[in-house]
């Protein structure tokens, strides 16, 4: 009765949407995460300090709630969630997803959710990535005939707060320029594709000869193998701070060249203004980060929000392809 699923460090997650669960609806702020496949929110029975800061689901107030009794344990890169599986009506954007399986947390040990501004996570990865025997939210939407096309897409705005959207069942062409370049999913578990190379000034600096990359709305930064990312930090002259982060001179935003991710023969430049972030105190940090201790994914890259803010992305389950085009 113990189930594990891959989840990552949610330290940098920054885009949330609102959903409701139950009848009458109870509202939650969740991350729409292409790097996991399950939906979970905290329950009223959660006793961890982290749960006190968040909206919690009360099963007793929902007339459509059904409990399965199955315990679940979701292991994160930075903590874990323990709880149980349940079913209820999930609503967002006018969609009514009935009998949706979701997790309710009883414990969120450690501090990993204590500082989170979101309540839970809504996974949009492939079903094989999620809890066995359950149907993820997107698959349920499609099975119930609630969306006309078996795809969804993300537009992450470069502006500070508003303007970002996730769209289901179609693509709004006003969010990108040019044509979508379609890339096959190399492994239908994550939204994973094969990347040709990473280069700067025409010179390959990483992923020489090709590598795997995961397009992940649940990751903020550009994550790669530690030795290779360490080399990139050296190239851009980023220095490790006492907190372990890589700091960089803000002036270099105007002088450092683009770093180009080549995917399926198409170049996707990421300018210094995107791979360097400036906080409100005027300190600049590298948006490259290293993955540590990964097993199967140790040679892979994760292209998170930093990449997705530049490139509108379509996740096409019908054709197992990912569409990329410059975001407007």
């Amino acid at each position: 009765g113990v189930y594990y699923e891959p989840m990552r460090n949610y330290l940098d997650l920054a885009y949330v949407g609102t959903i409701s669960i139950g009848t009458p609806p109870q509202e939650f702020r969740v991350i729409f995460d292409t790097g996991s496949s399950d939906l979970w929110v905290p329950s009223i029975h959660c006793t961890s300090p982290a749960c006190t800061n968040h909206n919690v689901f009360n099963p007793l107030l929902s007339s459509t709630f059904r409990i399965s009794g199955r315990p679940i344990h979701l292991q994160y890169g930075s903590g874990r969630m323990s709880g149980f599986l349940a079913y209820d009506t999930v609503q967002f954007g006018g969609l009514v997803d009935e009998s949706q399986a979701f997790g309710l947390s009883l414990r969120e040990p450690g501090r990993f959710m204590e500082y989170a501004v979101f309540d839970g996570i809504l996974g949009l990865g492939y079903p094989s990535l999620g809890l066995g025997g359950t149907t993820p939210v997107f698959d349920n939407l499609w099975k119930q005939g609630l969306i006309p096309e078996e795809l969804f897409a993300f537009y992450l705005s470069k502006k500070e707060e508003e303007g970002s959207v996730v769209m289901f069942g179609g693509v709004d062409h006003s969010y990108y320029s040019g044509d979508l370049n379609w890339v096959p999913v190399s492994r239908p578990l994550y939204w994973q594709l094969t990347m040709d190379s990473i280069s700067m000034n025409g010179e390959v600096i990483a992923c020489d000869g090709g590598c795997e990359a995961i397009i992940d709305t649940g990751t903020s930064l550009l994550i790669g193998p530690s030795d290779i990312v360490f080399n990139i930090q050296k190239i851009i002259d980023a220095k490790q701070s006492y907190s372990g982060e890589y700091m960089i001179n803000c002036d270099t935003i105007n002088t450092l060249p683009d770093i180009v991710f080549t995917i399926n023969g198409v170049d996707y430049p990421v300018p210094a203004s995107a791979y360097i972030r400036e906080d409100h105190q005027g300190t600049c940090y590298s948006n490259f980060d290293e993955g540590r201790g990964g097993l199967l994914l140790s040679d892979s890259w994760i292209l998170g929000d930093v990449f997705l803010r530049l490139y509108f992305t379509v996740f096409d389950r019908a054709n197992n392809t990912i569409g990329l085009a410059p975001a407007v």
């Binding site: 920054a14 949330v16 890169g77 502006k159 508003e162 069942g169 903020s220 994550i223």
Partner: protein, 46 residues
Amino acid sequence: CLVTIPLTRIKSMRENLREKDRLRDYLEKHPYNLAYKFVDSADPDP
């Protein structure tokens, strides 16, 4: 038929921790890990 859900950009946990000067402590205790699916472990807090 297109269903669009607005997303709001919020302050990340990293920013919250950095402001409270707890980031270093957090990163030391919780190093980033890319994959856990195949980690063979039982519930440490049954």
